[in-house]
């Protein structure tokens, strides 16, 4: 009777524990093989309040001349007027084009800078010094001259250690752009009251964009 009890307990344990182990096994291995979730860089590469009535989303390539013109002549003015006033939320999306030899690398450095909290200075430097690094490919040197040594150290560390995350974030922006039919840069979208409106490709004059923003703000 005692032996029967021991046998019963043994088989009962095997019957209960073994299926649990077998079913847990694949789940654990699936979790282990699953890539780390892509960190959402939207907030890190954006300016202004998310609560702003207008969102301007720009798919951009740091080596594209028209993106440079748009940034220097239009986006910078937005950053001085509508963004601090809480009227516009400005979102940068990476869309490095294969025709530009250093644009992907520039996007990687900018994403690393965003993770280090130095996105604005990096973006400004990449566009204003586009001729310089575009010709030589020496992006790191150009950024080192513009960022503080502490920030540059952080950016370098992130760039060197979190390459997979950075590439995944760029790929995520590109996939979003492709899903919207983006095939050139800069591609600008204006989101207002849930309505997404693409602006004509090739950049926009600040005066015309200002008129459009003012018109949208009057709708409130």
């Amino acid at each position: 009777m005692k032996r029967l009890n021991v046998k019963f307990v043994f088989f009962a344990l095997v019957g209960l524990v073994l299926p649990a182990l077998l079913s847990a096994g694949p789940r654990q291995s699936a979790a282990a093989s699953k890539p780390a979730p892509v960190q959402d860089m939207t907030a890190l590469k954006s300016m202004g309040s998310r609560e702003a009535p207008i969102t301007i989303e720009v798919f951009s390539d740091y080596q594209c001349p028209q993106c440079r013109v748009f940034y220097l002549d239009t986006a910078r003015q937005l950053m001085q007027s509508y963004i601090p006033a809480g009227k516009v939320y400005y979102v940068h999306r990476d869309f490095p084009l294969s025709m530009h030899s250093h644009s992907r690398e520039a996007a990687r450095w900018a994403t690393a800078a965003a993770m280090a909290g130095a996105f604005q200075t990096t973006e400004e430097t990449l566009y204003s010094k586009q001729d310089q690094w575009g010709a030589t490919g020496k992006i790191e040197d150009v950024l080192a001259a513009a960022l503080s040594p502490t920030d540059m150290k952080k950016v370098r560390t992130i760039e060197a250690t979190q390459g997979t995350q950075i590439d995944a974030a760029i790929a995520k922006d590109m996939a979003l752009g492709e899903s919207r039919g983006v095939n050139g840069t800069p591609s600008i979208y204006v989101l207002h009251k849930g309505q997404m409106t693409p602006l004509p490709p090739g950049g926009v004059n600040y005066s015309l964009l200002k008129q459009y923003i003012d018109y949208l703000l009057q709708q409130h």
């Binding site: 028209q66 050139g184 309505q195 997404m196 409106t197 693409p198 602006l199 004509p200 490709p201 090739g202 950049g203 926009v204 004059n205 005066s207 015309l208 964009l209 008129q211 459009y212 018109y215």
Partner: protein, 167 residues
Amino acid sequence: MSQASPIAIERPRTQSKARLLLIPARIILGAVFIYAAYAKLHFNGAWHLRDYYFFFAMGIDSYKMLPLAIVEWMAKILPWLELGLGTLLIVGAGVRWVGLMVTALLAVFMAALAHAALGGLEINCGCFGNNSVKPSHELIVDGVLITLALAVTLGGFLSRRGGNSQA
């Protein structure tokens, strides 16, 4: 009792055939102009009668050819001008002068497109709102359209002349 000579009968017949051939040309050209206006006023699934000109002005400005004041003025009136000219072409009213205006307008468009294509500007032509293609491709379309417009204009003038000489 006078009898009409065979030559005199043949000329009106040829003219009426030419006039018949010009009708489809006129309708095609008119439809294209109406569509061009429609595409500038209706896009992203909605009518933009109050804000269309912002987008069209941005499109015209991307050619980097005109001062902003003229760009804004053109953006405001061009869709309505295209709509008016397209309707007149289809109705067949004032064909000579409407044809002449359409030809002149297309010549201006082609000059702008050539400027953009030669300058290597990576822009949409803006001719058909968001459905536009690259300026270099649009030049081919406009080449066909200006041929039709010239045919309609010349046809209009010639038929008028023929009508006057007969009278």
